[in-house]
Every structure is written in structure tokens, then in C-alpha cells.
Amino acid sequence: MNIDENGLIAQILDGDTEQYSALIDHHKEGIYRHCFYIVHDEDIAEDMAQQAFIKAYMHLGKFNGDKAGFRTWLSAIATRECLTHLRRRKTLPLDYDDAIPSTLADTDQLAHDRELHDAVMQLEPKYRTVISLYYWHGYQYADIAKAMGAPVGSVRGWIHRAKKILKEALS
């Protein structure tokens, strides 16, 4: 369903807080997956998604609909929350042990995919984030740069470096 986001935001800023639930409903799945691509843990992804929505509400007055869509702005907030969380963690979650095997997919293919996923999750947070956003979330360099608050050139460099590390890890 299409919603008039700028109109909703205007109403929320006018004091109609309850309208924020419409924005949450519209974006929650996408932000949850976005956070999962970075933190790779469902519970943490959900926490980060919630924190992103709360932060976005607190700073809604700063949102400029002319510069970017609400989703882009929200994703940037979510990315920062996830990266901050990862920097605080000392270990990374790798708990695919209870993965449900698919009766349809080839199990060799699944193992092959999992090997790559695990290798990506072992990367340090900024490398993991750029790989996830570029290859699995369809972000362009400029979008990643905005989401991470970094220059485009840095993002390119990180992707290049991350791929080198992955190649060494998987060889």
C-alpha cells in the first residue's frame, strides 16, 4: 500500500504520535532484514531495528524529505546502530548449527552458501556491512556511503579489501 510519508511525518511532527505506527508497519520488514544482513542474529536484528525506529522518531524533525526518502534515512540510522553494536561485541554470532535443512535445495549448495555467509560474518564490521549492503541488499556505492557516513571512495576501498580477505579465507 502506498502511503504519503511526508504527509504522515507532518502529522507526527504536529503532535499526532500514533501515526508513527503506520511508518513502522510500512518499513519494519525491510529494516529488520537490513539489520540482519549486518548483525546476522535475528534477536539482535530486531533490537537494532526497534532502536532505529525510536531514534528516527526522536530526530524526526531533522528529516528532510527533499534530500532523501524516509527509508534511506531510516536505513542510515539502522546501519549506525548495528555497527555501534558490533563494535561493542567481542565475538560474532555463528550459530547456524540448528539451521533447518531445506527439502528442496541441494544440500551441497546450501553448504557452499553457508561457507560464504560464515566467511562474511567473520569480517570486521565495516567490511561485513559493505559486502552485505552491496551484494545482498542491492545498495549502490553512494547509498552505502550515505548509510555509513563515509566517503564513496572509502566504501569502494572497503569492498575491495573485504573481497581480498574473503578470497584468502575461502581458498
Binding site: D4, G7, T17, Q19, A22, A99, S171
Partner: protein, 324 residues
């Protein structure tokens, strides 16, 4: 072995193994409301909303919040820290010819707004379509009345913000502050009593707990009622006020995120904000009860309409939940 680029391109993204919790929205909104209540509570004491980023001044934080209605003119005499300000009272009227009943029973009405542009998210031009949900007590006339009150509240906000911007740098109002540390805010309050050089205020109008807040008056505080300067002794207990507060900034940016728990507890216990001084008081013409009643009756059974650039169709900005 495939090169890493191909492998990354061909490998599907790892997906969450479980969906998002079904009550995610409900839980998030609970946190959002909590955040709003904390900020509103603080803003009642400090009018912090004017500098907590992301929030509009307190008047716009919640629909049921008290609204100003009826301050026609505020004139501040020369030689003070304030500028002379005058503005036209907003007027919202119903165009009966532009009011129709839709097939689903909703009423679509055309309202003309004067001195209201830019307020409440209303763009120019002056004519705006609104839709009222079927089967509710809302009418075009009540909607117009409520919008008029909302527009006036917005104008008051802008008025005081403008006043503060124009305070001369060498003014008494700014003494004692390091550059960039002074903060001003404009909360609503009800006067309980004048106690020497302090006002005892009731901030419980918005459902908050602070029914006794004592704030000091600056020696050169300006007090106005019905557009004229009055003496402190002429302020009437029980009257509704908008205060102009000067607050002492802490060493760090003041926000709910940086305030320590002991500072919040002190506020809750003493009801006394850290370093706030009243430098201006405006006594309202209309009592809060009338303005609050208008706001309460407005409810959520209406929405403004916006016209789609592609199809030209009118669309509800906030979907009304009509059961077909």
C-alpha cells in the same frame, strides 16, 4: 573455484530464520510513547522541546495538549529585551459549496484558511480539502474551529521563537551565560500563586505529575495580559500562562539521552528545573479548558487530503479506517 566476485553475486543473501515478532509495532510504539512522555515532562519544566532536536515546541507535542486560543496582540514596550510583535488571528472557514458526502458516508469539505499558511503542515494556497470519517461527531464546522486553534498555537510558538532570536547580545536576559549556552523555551502552565519573586505553577494539565513547580522570576521579567504590560501583582491565580523561560545549559547538550538518572529523579522529586528563570509571562485570553476541549474533540476522525500529481485524485494523508 569461482572468483569471489561471481560467488558473491550468485550467493543469495542470508535470510533471517524467523520472521519479525508479530507485536514489533506495538512494542516499538510503547517505547516511542515513553520517550515522548519523558521529553514532554522535561519540556513542561524547561520547555526543552525548543532545543531537543527533532521535536517541535511543546504546544505541538500531543493533540490533547492544551492549546492557545485568543491571544490577539502582544506588545512589548521599548527598552526591553523583546521586540514589538503583532499578528492577525488565524481564521478558518467552511465553504459550504465545497462540502459533499462521499459514497462511503465520509464528508469531504473545503476549508479556507487565513493567516494559517505554513502552520500544521498546511501548504499554500489557502484552500484545503479535508475528509471526515462517516458516523462520527466531527463536523466541518468543528474541524474548522479546531484547526483555527491549532494554527494560533503555532503562531504563538513562532512568535516567542522570534522574540528570543531578536534579544540583543548585551541584554540582561543573556547575562551569566557563556556564548552559545543560553537556551529559551515557551511552556504552558497554570498559575497557582505568586510567592514573592517566584511563580508556583501547575503543570499537570497535560496529564503530567508536576502540579507544583516553583520557578524564579528574573528581576526584569515582562508580564503581559490581553496585549498590555501588567504588574506581577495583577497576575490572577488560576490563569493560563505561556512562559518565556531562560534555562541554564548544562556543560553538555541537554537531552533525554544525556541527562543523568539522578538529575531526572531530582526534577521529579523537587519539581524544580535546574537553572530555569522566567523572563516573560503572557496570560492567555481563553482558558485552557476551552482550548483543550477543542483539541480533545478533534480526535482522529479526520484527515487532510493531498492531490496526486499523476492521477489528480485526492488521497487521504492519514488513512481513515472506514469499514466498507
Amino acid at each position: 573455484m569461482k572468483d569471489i566476485e561471481s560467488r558473491l553475486n550468485e550467493t543469495p543473501a542470508p535470510l533471517p530464520r524467523r520472521p519479525l515478532s508479530s507485536d514489533f509495532t506495538r512494542q516499538t510504539m510503547a517505547q516511542v510513547r515513553k520517550e515522548k512522555r519523558t521529553t514532554l515532562r522535561l519540556s513542561m519544566l524547561f520547555g526543552l522541546a525548543s532545543f531537543i532536536q527533532g521535536f517541535k515546541p511543546m504546544h505541538r507535542l500531543s493533540k490533547p495538549a492544551a492549546l492557545v486560543a485568543g491571544i490577539a496582540v502582544i506588545t512589548i514596550t521599548a527598552g526591553t529585551s523583546f521586540a514589538a510583535i503583532q499578528w492577525l488571528r488565524p481564521k478558518v472557514s467552511v465553504d459550504k459549496q465545497g462540502t459533499i458526502t462521499l459514497p462511503n458516508g465520509n464528508i469531504r469539505t473545503w476549508l479556507t484558511l487565513e493567516s494559517c499558511q505554513g502552520q500544521q503542515g498546511i501548504p499554500t494556497p489557502e484552500r484545503n480539502y479535508y475528509e471526515i470519517k462517516a458516523g462520527t461527531s466531527m463536523t466541518p464546522e468543528k474541524l474548522a474551529n479546531g484547526l483555527e486553534a491549532m494554527c494560533e498555537a503555532d503562531l504563538v510558538n513562532e512568535l516567542f521563537a522570534d522574540v528570543v532570536k531578536k534579544i540583543p547580545k548585551d541584554s540582561n536576559a543573556l547575562k551569566g551565560f557563556k556564548p552559545g549556552q543560553e537556551q529559551f523555551s515557551f511552556p504552558y502552565s497554570k498559575l497557582k500563586e505568586v510567592h514573592g519573586d517566584r511563580l508556583v505553577l501547575d503543570n499537570s494539565l497535560n496529564g503530567e505529575q508536576f502540579s507544583n513547580v516553583s520557578l524564579p522570576l528574573a528581576a526584569d521579567a515582562r508580564i503581559y495580559a490581553k496585549g498590555k504590560a501588567i504588574k506581577l501583582s495583577e497576575l490572577k491565580p488560576g490563569s493560563d500562562l505561556t512562559l518565556v523561560l531562560r534555562t541554564t545549559a548544562l556543560d553538555r547538550p541537554f537531552s533525554t539521552e544525556t541527562m543523568r538518572p539522578d538529575e531526572i529523579n531530582k526534577l521529579a522529586k523537587d519539581g524544580y528545573p535546574i537553572g530555569a528563570t522566567i523572563i516573560g509571562v503572557v496570560e492567555h485570553v481563553y482558558p485552557f479548558a476551552d482550548a483543550a476541549e477543542i483539541s480533545q474533540k478533534m480526535g482522529y476522525d479526520w484527515t487532510r487530503l493531498t492531490q496526486s500529481k499523476d492521477s489528480g485524485e485526492w488521497q487521504q494523508i492519514v488513512p481513515l479506517d472506514n469499514k466498507q
